[in-house]
C-alpha cells in the first residue's frame, strides 16, 4: 500500500486547499479533472503503450449515459438513485464501446491503431449528429431535469460540489486500480507486452486478454468521468464538445508529461498541466494554447520518458554509479 500514500496525501491536500480557501474550489476541481483524466488514460496508454487517439469517445458516451438517466427518470422519486443509475449506465455504455473497439481495432498497431481510433471517435460523433439520436447536433440539456429530481438548491449543490467530489473519487480509485495492476500478474504481462508484443506472445502471455482488460478498465473510468465532470457539472451534453479530439490530446500530454505507465505520473502531469492551463487562461486569456503548444513540443523532444520517468532514470543512474 505504501506507493499509494503520497497520492492519497496529495489528493487530501488538494481537497483541503479547495475546501478551506475561498475561491479555490473552482481551480482545484479544474486541476482534479485533468489528474483524473490522466489516471484513467494511464491504465490503457501507459500500461500497454497503445496510443488511443479517440479516447474522448468514452468520456462522451459516459456523459450521454448520465444525461439519458436524468432525461428518462426525472419524474421518478429516486433522488440520488438517478445519479447512481447514470453512473452505471455511463460505465456500461463506455465499456461496451471499448469492448467493440478493442475486439476489432486492437489487432492494429502503432499509427494504424491511432488512426482507427480517431475514426471511431469521429464516426460515432457524426452518427449521433447525422441520425439525430440523443438530440442530434443540438445535444441534450438536462438542467431542468436535475432541478426536477432534486429541487433547485440541491441541484445547484450537485453540479458545483457533488460532481467534483465524484471526480476526486474517480481519480483515487483509478490510481488504486493502477497500483493493483502494477503489482500483479497483469502488470508484468502488460509490461512485457509494451516492451515487445511478439516476444510476450511467444512466451505464452495472453496479450489480447490483458490488452482488452486494460482497455475496458480505462474506458469505464473515462465514462464515469464524462458522466460526472461533464454532464453533472455542466448539465448539458453537446456532441461538438464531448467528442472534441483536444481532450484526447490533453490526456496524452498529461500521461506523457508525468511518465507513461508510472503510478505517480498522471498526478504529476495533471497537476502541472492543470495549473499551467488554468493560470495561463486567467493571466493571458486567449493565448494559453499559443504558449502550451511550444511547451508541448519542448517536453516531447526533451523528456521522451516524461518527468517522473526522467527522474527515475536519473536516480537509478546515480545509484548504479555508486554500486560500481
Amino acid at each position: 500500500m505504501r506507493p499509494m500514500l503520497p497520492i492519497l496525501f496529495l489528493y487530501i491536500i488538494l481537497f483541503i486547499i479547495g475546501y478551506t480557501i475561498p475561491g479555490m474550489w473552482q481551480p482545484v476541481a479544474f486541476i482534479m479533472f485533468y489528474i483524473a483524466l490522466g489516471q484513467a488514460f494511464n491504465i490503457f496508454l501507459g500500461l500497454t503503450g497503445y496510443v488511443d487517439f479517440g479516447y474522448v469517445a468514452f468520456l462522451a458516451l459516459g456523459s450521454y449515459g448520465m444525461a439519458i438517466a436524468f432525461s428518462s427518470l426525472h419524474e421518478s422519486s429516486l433522488g440520488f438513485g438517478v445519479i447512481l443509475i447514470g453512473l452505471v449506465l455511463a460505465m456500461v455504455m463506455s465499456s461496451i464501446l471499448s469492448l467493440a473497439v478493442g475486439a476489432v481495432a486492437l489487432r492494429l498497431r502503432g499509427a494504424y491503431f491511432a488512426i482507427a481510433t480517431i475514426g471511431v471517435n469521429e464516426g460515432f460523433r457524426y452518427f449521433v449528429e447525422g441520425a439525430r439520436i440523443w438530440g442530434g447536433s443540438e445535444g441534450m440539456i438536462i438542467s431542468g431535469q436535475i432541478r426536477n429530481v432534486f429541487g433547485s438548491d440541491i441541484a445547484n449543490f450537485v453540479s458545483t460540489f457533488v460532481a467534483d467530489i465524484f471526480v476526486f473519487l474517480i481519480a483515487g480509485i483509478a490510481a488504486f486500480i493502477t497500483y493493483l495492476i502494477l503489482n500483479r500478474k497483469m502488470g508484468y504481462a502488460l509490461m512485457a507486452l509494451r516492451e515487445d508484443e511478439d516476444a510476450a506472445k511467444v512466451m505464452g502471455i495472453n496479450v489480447t486478454k490483458y490488452k482488452i482488460m486494460a482497455f475496458i478498465l480505462s474506458a469505464s473510468f473515462a465514462g464515469l468521468l464524462g458522466a460526472t465532470a461533464w454532464t453533472l457539472k455542466m448539465t448539458y451534453v453537446f456532441p461538438a464538445d464531448v467528442f472534441l479530439i483536444t481532450y484526447t490530446v490533453e490526456a496524452i500530454v498529461i500521461v506523457m508529461l508525468g511518465g507513461a505507465g508510472t503510478l505517480m505520473g498522471p498526478l504529476v502531469g495533471g497537476l502541472i498541466y492543470g495549473i499551467l492551463k488554468y493560470y495561463l487562461s486567467v493571466l493571458l486569456p486567449g493565448f494559453q494554447l499559443l504558449i502550451l503548444a511550444p511547451l508541448l513540443i519542448i517536453v516531447v523532444v526533451a523528456f521522451p520518458d516524461g518527468i517522473v520517468g526522467a527522474l527515475k532514470k536519473r536516480i537509478k543512474g546515480e545509484l548504479t554509479n555508486y554500486i560500481r
Partner: protein, 297 residues
C-alpha cells in the same frame, strides 16, 4: 430524371474536388511512407496554404495559380525548419512522441495564424468565367484546380522515378540501412521528404481556397486532417500515388453518398456522409490495412 442529373452533377464536382483531396493527402502519405510519422497537424499546413493564396490575392492581386509556387516554397522552407528543429530528434522515438509533437506543431501554427490574422472567416473569389457542361455550369477556376493537381502529382511522379534524388528517397523507403551503406545521407533524405510533403500540403491549401469561397480561418484544417486520414488509409497510408487516386474515389463517394443520403427523411445528410466515410476507414483498416490500391511495396 432530376435526381439522376443531380447525382451526375455532384459526382462531377466530387471528381474535381477529389483531385484536390488527393493532392492534399499526398504529403501526408509521403511523410508516413518515408519517415513513418503520422502528421497529426496536417490540416494546419493546408490552412497556411489557404492564407497564402488569400493574402497574395487580396494584397497583390496574384491569382491562386501563381500562388501555388509561392506556397510550395513557403511549405518547403517550413518543412525544413520543422524537420531540423523538432522531427530530426524524434526519428526513432515511439509513435506517442511523434503524434504529440506533430499535433503540437499544428496547434502552434493555428494559434500563430489566429494571433496574426484573427479568428474570423475570410474568403475571396477568383472569377475567370465558367463552362457550360450541359447539365451544369462549372467555374473555370475549378477546372484549373483539377488540371494543376494532376500536373503537380505527375511532376512529383517523374521526379521520383527519373532523378537521382528521387531514387535515393525510394532506396531509403526500401531499406534504410542498405541505403546508408550505399552512401546515401539518410537524415538529409528524411529532411527533403518531410519538406516536400509539407510543401505539397501547403500548395494544396491554395487549391482548396477555390472550393471554399468564405471558409478561410485558422482552424479550417481540422476537417482536412480527418479527411486526409481516411483518404491516406484508402490509398495505403504509405503510398503518395495511392493517396492521389484515393482522393478521387473519396471525392466521388463523398458527393455521391451525400446526394443519396439526402433522400432519407429526418437525418442530417452532411453528418451521415462523414459517418459513412469513417465507417469505410475502419472497414478498410481491418480488412486490408495496406490500402485498397496496392499500398506499400
Amino acid at each position: 430524371m432530376a435526381f439522376v442529373d443531380q447525382l451526375l452533377t455532384n459526382l462531377l464536382y466530387g471528381a474535381i474536388l477529389g483531385s484536390v483531396y488527393g493532392l492534399a493527402t499526398m504529403g501526408l502519405s509521403l511523410i508516413f511512407g518515408v519517415l513513418r510519422i503520422v502528421n497529426v497537424g496536417h490540416g494546419a499546413f493546408i490552412m497556411i496554404g489557404a492564407f497564402t493564396a488569400f493574402w497574395m490575392f487580396i494584397l497583390y492581386g496574384i491569382p491562386p495559380l501563381v500562388s501555388i509556387s509561392i506556397a510550395l516554397i513557403v511549405g518547403l522552407a517550413l518543412g525544413f525548419v520543422i524537420f531540423y528543429t523538432v522531427i530530426k530528434r524524434l526519428i526513432d522515438a515511439p509513435e506517442l512522441a511523434t503524434l504529440l509533437a506533430t499535433f503540437g506543431i499544428g496547434l502552434f501554427l493555428e494559434e500563430l495564424a489566429k494571433l496574426f490574422w484573427g479568428p474570423d472567416y475570410r474568403g475571396f473569389s477568383w472569377n475567370v468565367g465558367s463552362v457550360n457542361m450541359g447539365m451544369t455550369i462549372i467555374p473555370v477556376s475549378k477546372i484549373y484546380a483539377l488540371i494543376s493537381s494532376i500536373i503537380i502529382a505527375f511532376v512529383l511522379y517523374l521526379w521520383f522515378q527519373r532523378t537521382k534524388l528521387g531514387a535515393a528517397v525510394r532506396a531509403v523507403v526500401e531499406d534504410k540501412e542498405g541505403a546508408m551503406v550505399c552512401g546515401i545521407n539518410v537524415t538529409r533524405i528524411y529532411a527533403l521528404s518531410f519538406a516536400i510533403g509539407i510543401g505539397l500540403t501547403v500548395a494544396s491549401g491554395v487549391l482548396i481556397t477555390l472550393f471554399v469561397p468564405v471558409g478561410i480561418n485558422p482552424y479550417m484544417g481540422g476537417e482536412y486532417t480527418l479527411k486526409a486520414f481516411v483518404i491516406a488509409v484508402l490509398g495505403g497510408l504509405a503510398s503518395p500515388w495511392g493517396a492521389f487516386y484515393a482522393g478521387f474515389i473519396f471525392g466521388l463517394l463523398e458527393n455521391g453518398s451525400y446526394t443519396i443520403l439526402g433522400l432519407l427523411p429526418n437525418v442530417e445528410p452532411f453528418s451521415l456522409t462523414r459517418f459513412v466515410a469513417f465507417t469505410a476507414l475502419l472497414i478498410i483498416l481491418l480488412v486490408k490495412p495496406t490500402g485498397l490500391l496496392g499500398g506499400e511495396k
